[in-house]
Amino acid sequence: MSLGRVVLTPSDRRSLARVLVLLNWVSVVTGAVLVLVGVYLWVELWRWEVVLSEGVVWAVPAVLVWTGLTACVVNLTGARLCLDAADVNRFLRWKLAMAPYVGVSLLLTAGVLLVAALCLVAAARLDGALEAGLSAAMRRYKDWDRHPGLKSRLDLLQIHMSCCGNVRYQDWFRVQWVPDRYLDRSDPGVRARLSSNVIGQYLSDSVPFSCCDPASPWPCPQTHLRSSPAPHFRSLAQSSRSLGLWGRGCREALETHYSSILHHISLIAVGVWAFEVRHAHNAPCR
């Protein structure tokens, strides 16, 4: 006894075939959407790859693109199949390919669901990758000779993402971000700072200009943030908001940015999966 047995007349079969062809074409479009979404994610990751050079998240765009392309190919085949189903002679050609086709489309459906799960896993793992990437980038900020362009990319990141430092602006106090060649070693102040710590680094309570917040009414004092400020400034409150700097760290900013993208992508993948499941019953085509 077969499951869900239905009796169909020839004209019923023809209109069903037409509807299925249409559904297959819509699935081709959703496959293309997955490819585009994968490309978009890759571009967004590449934009700030200076701080996110490795992690599970880099595998997601490739998986999306390959799944999308497979979905396009499988659904194009399905459309062709359903188109030929109306004519008995042409359909006989497809008889042997039916079983593998059904198998591949079931695998594809499962694959789309796995993609959605992969996005959520990548979003959860972002924190660690960003922490490592940002610390390394901040340490290399001063090395223009060995890492040319890293300084400008990190500055642009802080400006565009409205963030400063790893977790907060004080992270800049713990690294030397002024290159050695611009330090006047004959100056007693500079020598004092260099000898004040074990590694002999020039640490100061100042931040790069890219930490400045244009929306703040303060004209952005970048230096002497811990002690009394530059002579012309009145004493400042300690919260970074009134200092005229960005209030949040870049780790938080980037995590929010990428997590929201990955969550939206996984929602799209779940939607595509639900659509595939609904018309995966190509049995009527037989």
């Binding site: 300084k151 290159p179 970048q222 002579p231």
Partner: protein
């Protein structure tokens, strides 16, 4: 003698009608493009209106929006006429409107020409508005507590960052204004007192620029203070230091942005004029060849289509005569009475 006559058989007529129909729909898309560019231009002007002291002229974008809509409507009508032209029944209802349509088309081309000229000439007005507006923006940069000017600082900072520019003509414009508000100055400090007393207006002037003038691409951490004093910083020579801050003025940066936009839109409008002329010429050939058919019942017959019924000179003379008749109807009447008496 008709101007540029061409013989048409049925096949040629059908091909002309089909090609013309596609051309009309291309023109509709171009009309939509002009409309969207007009809206985009208007939005950009609004976004930068604080830099232009809110006195910029919205004439050009408004005209573009209007012209875009008119182009769409005009060409959609033309496309419909083309579509119906090969069916004599449907074509008959469009026939009486064709003469007015061609006159309207001519007028519309003149309007398009005026709009294109405005696109190229109004750039001068934009330049002058920018020069004045930026002067005020720099002056009011520090007034973050004055109502109506609270966001000037943020807007100017973000403009300098986005357009990679500093000041009005160049970064020295910042040396001439006090850009730090008195609220943040420690008036009991001797250095501050010296600076304030050193000029007639009592302004705190210094040779520094805001942080938004800094170039992130410079290998050196940004030097924004004491720019003219080479000895204030280690290994700093103000004459050779190029990359540290943006050297271009914001007036030049913003003007080149708007100028590029207006030149492109002007070029598109001129292309539209050429497209419209081609459309009208094609439609004229099609309609005249249909009207000139000797035997309307037999579509297979050959007919001749032309651009103008008489040569250019005769057509212009006829048109002038008609205009004179409209302007001075009394004279014609008198001339008619004279022979009777």
């Amino acid at each position: 003698m008709p101007l540029m006559p061409v013989k048409f058989n049925l096949q040629k007529r059908v091909k002309l009608a089909q090609g013309l129909w596609m051309l009309y729909w291309v023109s509709v898309i171009v009309g939509i493009l002009i409309f969207s560019l007009g809206i985009f231009f208007k939005v950009e002007l609004r976004k930068r209106s604080e830099m232009m002291d809110n006195s910029e002229s919205h004439l050009v974008p408004n005209l573009l929006i209007l012209v875009g809509l008119l182009t769409c409507g005009f060409n959609a009508f033309g496309g419909k006429v083309c579509h119906d032209s090969l069916d004599p029944m449907k074509f008959a209802k469009w026939k009486p409107m064709l003469k007015q349509y061609f006159m309207a088309g001519l007028g519309f081309n003149v309007v398009l020409l005026v709009v294109a000229l405005l696109c190229f000439l109004m750039q001068f007005s934009v330049y002058l508005t920018l020069a004045d507006g930026l002067k005020y923006s720099i002056r009011f940069y520090k007034d973050t507590d004055t109502p109506g000017r609270c966001f000037m600082k943020r807007t100017l900072d973000m403009t300098q960052i986005e357009f990679r520019c500093c000041g009005n003509n160049n970064f020295r414009d910042w040396f001439e204004v006090q850009w730090i508000s008195n609220r943040y100055l420690d008036m009991s400090n001797d250095e501050v007192k010296d600076r304030v007393l050193s000029n007639v207006d009592g302004k705190y002037l210094m040779d520094s620029v805001p942080f938004s003038c800094c170039n992130p691409g410079s290998p050196r951490p940004c030097i924004q203070h004491h720019l003219t004093n080479s000895s204030a910083h280690y290994d700093y020579d103000l004459r050779s230091e190029e990359l540290n801050i943006w050297t271009r003025g914001c007036r030049e940066a913003l003007f080149s942005y708007f100028s590029y936009m207006m030149n492109s839109i002007g070029a598109l409008v001129i292309f539209t004029i050429l497209l419209e002329s081609a459309d009208m010429a094609g439609l004229k050939y099609l309609t005249t060849s249909l009207e000139a058919m000797a035997d309307p019942e037999n579509p297979e017959c050959e007919s001749e289509g032309w651009l103008l019924e008489k040569s250019v000179k005769e057509t212009i003379a006829e048109a002038l005569g008609k205009v004179k008749a409209l302007v001075k109807p009394n004279q014609v009447q008198e001339g008619g009475e004279a022979p009777a008496t």
